[in-house]
């Protein structure tokens, strides 16, 4: 079982790098959607005895991260007539190399960190850290507003990966609430993105620098 789990995680990490590397925003969003779905599956593998709350939780996660949120974003993209380039500050190749480096170092680092007996941890923790940092990379090195949102999603995914460590500690309501918050925030952000497009006729955050010292 653990092998399946680990291979899924590896796929997720690969998707990270793919997302860093890919050129068109739509494809990035699709990649993130797939990543979301995989994330949703993980808890089901993690525990043999399936309990109703967990099933509910992971189903919601799959639907949210995999379907609803990407739909929202794509919809936001749909009625915005802009060129679908990602426009990174640093190029695709360097950023994907950076991602790879981060991944490696995260794994190195995680060997140093004390972990409790279990087995999943030594895979989960580096994966989580990696995904979070990849999210940061996308947040920091992308000009397009929408791709920053993508970065935020990746960040959230990383945190979700970490939350697998304490699956029984998180009550269902809390998990639901978190997903709801995520959804609402993405929703509002997309609305704002819309407004940005209407106001500036572009999603380039370089336009959003009038407020400064």
């Amino acid at each position: 079982m653990i092998n399946v789990f680990n291979s899924l995680l590896v796929m997720i990490l690969a998707l990270n790098l793919l997302a860093l590397g890919s050129r068109s925003i739509l494809s990035v969003i699709r990649i993130i959607a797939i990543q979301g779905i995989l994330l949703g599956i993980l808890p089901l593998i993690l525990h043999e005895g399936l309990s109703i709350p967990q099933v509910v939780a992971s189903l919601t996660a799959i639907s949210m991260k995999g379907v609803v949120i990407p739909m929202v974003m794509i919809h936001a993209m749909k009625n915005i007539r802009i060129k679908r380039e990602v426009e990174p500050i640093i190029g695709f190749v360097p950023s994907s190399i950076l991602g790879a480096v981060i991944t490696g170092s995260a794994f190195l680092l995680s060997n140093q960190i004390t972990v409790s007996t279990g087995g999943y941890e030594n895979m989960i923790i580096p994966a989580a850290i990696t995904t979070i940092l990849v999210g940061f990379i996308q947040l920091i090195t992308r000009y397009k507003a929408i791709s920053q949102v993508v970065g935020y999603l990746v960040l959230e995914n990383g945190i979700y990966i970490f939350s697998l460590l304490l699956i029984e500690a998180i009550p269902l309501i809390v998990e639901m609430g978190m997903l709801l918050d995520l959804f609402v925030s993405i929703f509002i952000i997309s609305i704002i993105t819309n407004h940005i497009n209407n106001a500036f006729s572009s999603l380039d955050t370089r336009r959003l620098t009038t407020l400064k010292e």
Binding site: T205, R206, T209
Partner: protein
């Protein structure tokens, strides 16, 4: 009893302005009503203070305060002594204000002025009876802030706004320094209450830190050089009776603070006294030098406050050294001079500002070079101003001389007794003499430029004598100046009750002095009458003009030309800026000459420094240029930085280093 009276007085004065506001627009007499409330309460306060001068110290708890204990307010001779000028000038200034800042003439500001006048006086009263950090700071800030509002009365003038800002910043620096002082005090003594520290409890380093914090904090408020930079501007741009109370009374709160701290701290090292003495001499000398260079009558008076603070500090320095070398006589003489000069200065400086105020009120001008001949148009003001001028120059038989006499004797007596430490004190005496001479020169200049001769410019007519409400306070102050000058021995009792030594009269036989000065005054009057009313009536004529055909009033010696000699003598510190048109041909047409002197500290050091700081800070703006990516990057950096603190470097990397 006395304390209760004073509390009543403080509350009354604080509320006086509120009453006026509550009365609303319709009531006409509310200014008078407010003034009457102030008067009644200040009379109560004076009574209380005089009782307090001769009764032993009282202190008791006051209203509830979070997380503190001990006595909040109290009264001892020192506080009572300083309370007297507060209430005196507070009352007289209120009367003066009625005439000077009429409600009918300044509808917008006169209410505000009276309100904050009350707050100012109340604040000073509170800080004087405060025996606890909080009540003290409360009074202190109430005073400082209401003073700021009062300075800002005429805020349409950019000049006024500038000086108000400088004042506000200066006073806040002193407040924060006091925060530091009291925090350190609490750290050292573990208490918020003003209780003397015993000998040898604290380390010398801690004591020095405390002393220097106090010196800066209180020195800023007292306006000692080089911390006087806020003073000339603020005192010049405030309404005159406000300037009077600011430099007559408020500066003394700094002195009070220094004296109080001196009483709280154990025996000082000789360093402290020496520093106070030096600072005092510098303030005195430079204060008067800069005063001579001024053209603006109120700026000039303000610089004279710096000078007098210097004289007061010299007295205080003697007292500090006296404590260091365990010489009760020095302490007695020094404190006597210091305290008496505090009173005297508050009397004659307020008198002079009132006088300048009447001149301003009738001419609307502050520039000395265009005035002249007002002595004939406003004789009463002229007389009072002359008395103030003689007094501030420390010339007998007026009060300024008495306090300076104490200080002189304090400075010179050690030499007479052959004390080993006398040299420093002795060398200060001629400095004081020089200060006196310069002050006299400066006031000859002011008095003659304003009141003597004839108008130097047409646009200061018409001139009228000030109303009674402005003259009466001046009369009272002038009378007090003469009284203290002629009968100093009665004041001496008060001083002795504060310094707890009955030696002043044994050292200086003031009775003889008083007798002779009285005789002197009388003989002046007699001789004057004889001269004035001798049978041969004098013949009127023009001033002797050396046969020049058409003498005009603009040929008179102006204040500037008067001060020129000094300006040359002290050019090394004054750096006066002169703008004049070149005389190129034989028959030059219109020529102009204009000279002014920049403020020593403010214009030459602080302002450039402030600008540099601003530019340096604006450099950091580049880190906040509106790119959300960067902002997120900052967050990441913060996380990584803090996380890096967790890394146990030794156990991770030492292995690699080892092998």
């Amino acid at each position: 009893m006395s304390l209760q009276l004073i509390i009543v007085a403080i509350v009354g004065i604080a509320l006086s302005g509120v009453v006026g506001i509550l009365l609303g627009k319709s009531v006409k007499c509310k200014q008078a009503l407010t003034t009457i409330i102030v008067l009644i309460s200040s009379v109560l306060g004076l009574v209380g203070a005089f009782i307090g001068l001769f009764s032993e110290a009282t202190s008791f708890k006051f209203f509830y305060w979070p997380t503190i204990g001990g006595a909040l307010i109290g009264l001892d001779e020192l506080s009572a002594f300083f309370l007297i000028p507060v209430f005196l000038i507070g009352g007289l200034g209120a009367i003066y204000g009625m005439g000077y800042w009429k409600l009918s003439e300044h509808i917008y500001s006169s209410q505000k002025l009276q309100l904050f006048w009350g707050f100012l006086v109340a604040g000073m009263g509170l800080l004087l009876i405060g025996r606890h950090v909080f009540s003290f700071l409360m009074g202190w800030e109430l005073m400082a802030i209401s003073a700021f509002i009062l300075v800002m009365t005429e805020d349409e003038e950019a000049e006024c706004r500038k000086s108000g800002l400088v004042y506000l910043i200066a006073t806040h620096i002193s407040t924060l320094t006091l925060f530091g002082f009291f925090a350190l005090w609490h750290y050292a003594t573990g208490s918020f209450v003003f209780q003397p520290i015993g000998e040898g409890i604290l380390q010398p380093g801690m004591l020095n830190a405390l002393f220097f914090l106090a010196l800066i904090g209180f020195g800023l408020k007292a306006g000692m050089m080089p911390l006087h930079f806020w003073l000339p501007g603020a005192h010049a741009s405030a309404p005159s009776h406000v300037s009077a109370i600011l430099s007559g009374v408020m500066l003394k709160m700094g002195i009070y603070g220094l004296i109080r701290v001196g009483l709280l701290l154990p025996t000082p090292p000789s360093l402290w006294g020496t520093i106070i003495l030096t600072v005092g001499s510098i303030s005195g000398l430079l204060g008067v030098v800069f005063a001579i260079a001024q053209h603006d009558i109120k700026k000039l008076l303000a610089y004279h406050s710096v000078e007098n603070i210097g004289i007061i500090l010299i007295g205080l320095g003697i007292a500090f050294l006296g404590r260091t070398y365990n010489q009760p006589e020095w302490v007695a003489l020094g404190m006597a001079g210091c305290l008496l000069h505090v009173w005297n200065h508050s009397l004659f400086k307020s008198l002079l500002f009132f006088g300048a105020g009447s001149v301003l009120h009738s001419t609307g001008k502050r520039n000395l070079d265009i005035m002249g001949g007002l002595g004939k148009k406003m004789p009463v003001t002229a007389l009072f101003f002359l008395i103030g001028a003689i007094a501030i120059s420390g010339i007998p038989p007026l009060n300024g001389f008495v306090s300076e006499l104490f200080i002189y004797i304090g400075l010179i007596r050690p030499t007479a007794l052959g004390d080993p430490h006398a040299i420093g004190l002795a060398m200060t005496a001629p400095v004081l003499a020089m200060i006196g001479a310069l002050a006299a020169a400066c006031f000859v200049k002011v008095y003659s430029a304003v009141f003597l001769g004839s108008e130097r410019s047409e646009d200061i007519k018409p001139v009228h004598e000030s109303p009674k409400t402005m003259l009466i306070p001046m009369a009272i102050l002038a009378a007090l100046c003469v009284a203290i000058g002629v009968f100093p021995q009665y004041v001496t009792f008060i001083l002795e009750s504060i310094i707890h030594q009955k030696i002043l009269l044994n050292i200086i036989p003031l009775k003889i002095y008083s007798f002779f000065s009285l005789g002197f005054v009388i003989s002046i009057v007699v001789l004057y009458i004889w001269m004035k009313f001798r049978p041969k009536k004098p013949k009127e004529a023009l001033t002797w003009d050396c046969g020049y055909a058409k003498p005009t009033s603009r040929m008179q010696y102006t204040a500037t030309s008067f001060g020129n000699g000094f300006a040359i003598m002290f050019e090394w510190i004054l750096h006066s800026k002169v703008h004049k048109t070149k005389l190129n041909d034989v028959m030059p047409g219109q020529v102009t000459f204009e000279s002014h002197v920049n403020e020593l500290v403010l214009d030459r050091f602080l302002k450039p420094f402030f600008r540099k700081t601003q530019t340096a800070f604006s450099w950091f703006g580049r880190f906040q240029q509106g790119a959300s990516q960067n902002y997120i990057l900052y967050i990441l950096i913060a996380v990584l930085f803090l996380m890096a603190m967790l890394v146990p470097y030794n156990e991770w990397f030492l292995p690699f280093i080892k092998n």
